[in-house]
Amino acid sequence: MMDDIAPFRLWLCRAYYLGIGLLLVLWSIVPFDLTAGSWPRPDIFYCITIAYVVRKPEWAPVWAVFFVFFMRDVLTLAPLGLFTLLIVLGSEVVRGNIQAFREYSFGLEWLWMGAIFTAITIVQQILLLLMLAQTPRFVEQIYLIVFTIMAYPVIVGAMKYGFGFTRPRPGELDAWGKRL
């Protein structure tokens, strides 16, 4: 019975993940206000990705993470592939330590998510400096980090209470009927 229903539901959930990601990319390029010097918006899709990977890793497979972030790099004039590379690495670090993340309290999970995002931003800045490429301003990057970290509990709360998106309890089965 598991085999009949699970694959369809699994792919539907993956489609949700991809859909949310692409919508957020499009949202970020809608021309609301073209004046310079606006505040950086929090990286909402990074938060969603980490929340997915901690809670339902099989719904956010690595190729989906890659696809959405790569499209974002292309469409938003970012250095091609750099942020995607770091985010794939970051999400794989979380995925590799998934058991530990499941046992963490939410505060610890939040701390780790912030630490990974800070590391990604700093490494990005250093790599761009080393390659003598144009870098975003440091102050704006700090605002970006702070806003993103502040956005995380809000997003997780919305996913939990809006869509019933909780961490798997011990002994729960995954899509392949395997113990998590």
Binding site: V25, L26, W27, S28, I29, V30, P31, F32, D33, L34, T35, A36, G37, S38, W39, P40, R41, V62, W63, F66, F70, R72, V74, L75, T76, L77, A78, P79, L80, G81, L82, T84, L85, V88, L89, E92, M131, A133, Q134, P136, R137, E140, K178
Partner: protein, 297 residues
């Protein structure tokens, strides 16, 4: 059964590892190519955007329209105040209109005396703004005209009044306009009436600073800033804005274009005059058989 399951899990893990390594190698390679052969990578990016974005116009138009309506609605709350302001401005405008009409008549007379013909080369095409750059670190917009409409890299884009930026990246059906406020934008300008040349250098703030001014002491706040046409990039005499003395003592430019309400952009058709690359040559259009090093057209 358990053994089969185990080997399946093992197989899955190996496939995953290979997939991730391939992805990572691909991403590192893309980044290196982006850095080493930047023009080619940017052309690839423009090709992807050109394929994706014009098909999504139906998404952007209503959303942007809604946000405009909301901000319009917010402005109702201070409608009385605005009314007063408008009346005052109208009063001033009447005086200006009178002055303008007199000047126009005078100008017409002088032009007639001089037998001047204005340059008919400066025509324009108009495009609609599709998207912005999507990150606060880059200042640019995508418009819905491109190669098919004859748009060429480097042309100037204006709103009704002032310079907005220049075309940087052309696809078949779309083109990217790099704003004056982007931190990689450098435009040769002239401050009138002082006649001092300078570089208008974007720095991601709404008021880009003037750099390398000839005589700083001759430039005053309120002076007009226009393009010079140096380097053949822009046609000369396009209005960029007015000089503004900022709090930190730097001379900045208050741009004439209204970046908050950019919907349509005029792209100025501009063919630079033939460059003089060697002495003693006839200046004129390049003939078919003759290719010179300095001519990029």
């Amino acid at each position: 059964m358990a053994q089969q399951n185990d080997s399946e899990v093992y197989f899955r893990r190996v496939v995953r590892r290979v997939l991730i390594s391939v992805l990572l190698v691909f991403l590192v390679a893309t980044f290196m190519i982006w850095r080493i052969d930047n023009p080619r990578a940017e052309r690839f990016r423009m090709a992807v955007i050109d394929r994706v974005v014009p098909n999504l116009e139906w998404v952007f138009a209503p959303v942007a329209h809604m946000s405009n309506m909301i901000s319009d609605f917010q402005s109702y709350s201070r409608i009385y105040q605005q009314n007063q302001e408008l009346r005052r401005e109208l009063q001033q405008m009447k005086a200006w209109k009178e002055a303008a009409i007199q000047l126009e008549q005078k100008n017409a007379k002088l032009l007639d005396l001089n037998n001047v013909k204005l340059n008919p080369k400066l025509t324009y095409t108009t495009g609609v703004v599709l998207t912005d750059s999507g990150s606060p670190f880059r200042q640019s917009a995508l418009i819905n005209i491109g190669k098919h409409d004859g748009v060429v890299d480097g042309w100037a884009a204006m709103d009704g009044l002032g310079l907005v930026g220049r075309i940087s990246g052309v696809g078949n059906n779309s083109a990217r306009v790099l704003f004056l406020t982007d931190s990689s934008s450098r435009i040769p300008v002239e401050v009138t009436p002082a006649g001092q040349k300078a570089i208008l250098a974007g720095d991601n703030t709404p008021l880009p600073p003037l750099e390398f001014i000839d005589g700083v002491d001759q430039v005053r706040a309120g002076d007009r800033v226009v393009t010079t046409g140096d380097g053949g990039v822009f046609p000369p005499g396009l209005l960029a804005g007015t000089v503004f003395l900022s709090g930190d003592g730097r001379l900045r430019v208050k741009l004439a274009a209204d970046y908050r309400r950019l919907e349509f952009l005029r792209v100025i058709r501009h063919l630079p005059s033939a460059p003089i690359s060697e002495p003693g040559r006839l200046v004129g259009p390049t003939l078919p058989g003759q290719v010179s090093a300095g001519n990029d057209g």
